[in-house]
Symmetry: C2
Subunit: 344 residues, 2 copies
């Protein structure tokens, strides 16, 4: 199917002038007579002429497009980040090409190739859960295309990064539980090959050891989905290992845990306090409303995009790589807060 769109040539033919004259007239070039300009602009408007950005990109050797590789759009956090990305990109006259890895390494590699084939000027990446090898990404850099990681970064790869202060936020979240008088706090952790998974766990453990908590109290389990959390709570109960508080790697996990806890006839927060991470809509919808760390997804998107555009526009300068930290805010809600009575 050929896009039957009007070109500069069409206008030139209609007016019996050359394409270059049309081009200049449209750009309000001083050399062109105002009469010609009028004629050209009128016809262009009537024919709804639009410059062909593809051709422009070819000529100018820059596509004014940036690429994004994310695990899944349907995750609220990522959709927020994308909104932030688009916001900044569009205002700067850039188009955004979004690719989903669906948490698959192979797919992520493909995404990288798709984007470079489209000659995007820069790429924003958040790693899939499977990704352990980063060659497909360093290849991009070798091609001279700037890369900015957000949230799920690649350790060891030299590049700009935007992250949450995961460890610190996890530390605070755990301290909050300790302050509530909780003794046996467990952690439902994310995949440990991701830095965010490790960092959050690390912060959790630090808080416990800082509290001089008895060894063995830091029960960590890898569970990062609603379903896994639901099952894990049941398993812990059967093993007689139910904690009195739970810090989860993300909100959906926390909510799965809450559902499971309640299904067992126990109460949140009275019997088990629960805290999530990466505050999205879920936290306020949950019952009870969920204490969580607000990761400011939209902001993360805007910051990352600005870094990328800076990098693109200063490609010559060999500026050092930057890591920006967006501070997560612990928002305390009912799922972890005892209003009056104490637990026993």
């Amino acid at each position: 199917m050929k896009t039957g769109q009007v070109t500069i040539k069409d206008i030139a033919r209609h007016l019996n002038i050359s394409p270059s004259t049309v081009s200049r007239a449209l750009q309000d070039h001083p050399d062109i007579s105002s009469e010609t300009k009028r004629l050209v602009c009128e016809l262009a408007a009537r024919l709804k002429y639009q410059p062909n950005i593809v051709a422009l990109g070819l000529k100018q050797r820059r596509t004014k497009t940036i690429g994004v590789i994310i695990p899944e759009i349907v995750h609220f956090f990522f959709s927020q980040v994308i909104s932030g990305i688009e916001d900044v990109a569009y205002k700067a006259g850039y188009t955004v090409m979004i690719c989903q890895s669906n948490e698959k390494y192979e797919r992520e590699k493909n995404n990288a190739l798709t984007l470079t084939a489209h000659r995007v000027e820069g790429i924003l990446v958040s790693l899939s859960k499977e990704t352990c090898d980063y060659e497909h990404l360093t290849d991009i850099q070798d091609n001279g295309i700037p890369l900015v990681f957000f949230d799920r970064i690649a350790p060891g790869v030299e590049a700009d990064q935007v992250i949450t202060n995961d460890r610190e936020a996890a530390y605070q979240a755990t301290c909050h539980l300790l302050e509530q008088g909780r003794k046996r706090i467990a952690h439902f952790a994310g995949p440990q090959n991701l830095v965010i998974g490790r960092e959050r766990k690390e912060g959790f453990l630090q808080a416990l050891s800082g509290a001089g908590s008895p060894s063995g109290s830091g029960l960590c389990v890898e569970a990062d989905t609603f379903d896994k959390a639901f099952r894990e709570v049941i398993r812990l109960r059967e093993a007689g290992q139910l904690p009195d508080a739970l810090f989860c790697n993300n909100d959906l996990t926390a909510i799965g845990a809450i559902k499971s806890i309640r299904a067992l006839g126990l109460r949140v927060p009275e019997d088990i306090a629960v805290v999530g991470f990466s505050d999205g809509v879920f936290a306020t919808i949950s019952e009870p409303v969920l204490t969580s760390v607000d990761q400011h997804g939209f902001t993360m998107g805007t910051v990352a995009t600005r870094m990328l555009l800076d990098r693109i526009n200063n490609a010559e300068k060999e500026l050092p790589f930057i890591t920006k930290v967006i501070k997560g805010d612990l928002i305390i809600r009912d799922s972890s807060k005892l209003s009056l009575s104490s637990t026993q």
Copy 2:
């Protein structure tokens, strides 16, 4: 910033052969000697050569790209649709360019221009809440670019469409409430300039009149967000108009209502049964879990994209426009279902 990517010319220069030979070698053209092919392919691999899709698009006058205009990515339903779109598009070798209208008419007009400027071969659209005029979309069609509407269609515009059986599903949802013995059922409606808003309300009213319900029982209020629903429940209470059941235009609205109802010390579903629409994750996270109509967002995306690709690949044929209806499934959960006792 110039994408310093390797071109066919670079390879040709290195090997002291002409660019066309390189081109043919890369395509495994029979005319080329296997020795030359080997040389070319080896060097191409070493240099990580990738064909410039932009240049190809220009030459072949087809960009292998489709555009999407949606209100907001952060809506779970829309993010599901996008996943479906990407799934089909990528398998067909198409790239997807996503634009958000942010529910603004002006922005939607801009999106349309951006996409045509990029010479996308077809466009998928779901209207913003503000949109009442459709010229920016018919302009696209006049340009010979196929258009497919999904979910939020433009009445009067001749184009392919994919929709939910909104009226019927709303009818069923309301009937379900009637079957539960509810007498005073209210509707929290969406914007009435959108067809889906009107249809869902229509279905609601039909069910009531079919039940020979007393006039005035069909209380309709325009409220389509969490906050509006929350406030509206309070207002109804103050006005002494609280219903015993509530059918909401979407899930988030339903959940806002539930939160408000509970804040008033009333129970769901015992005092007020609640039903939502467009079943997303929210429905299963809500407490109690929410009865809702599953709109099958992912499927809607795949179906719409297939229609669009068909249209693109059969541009010559003047096929009649098609409307596909994806049946919504009413999924009954705790928010509307009385297990044992009856209401009084």
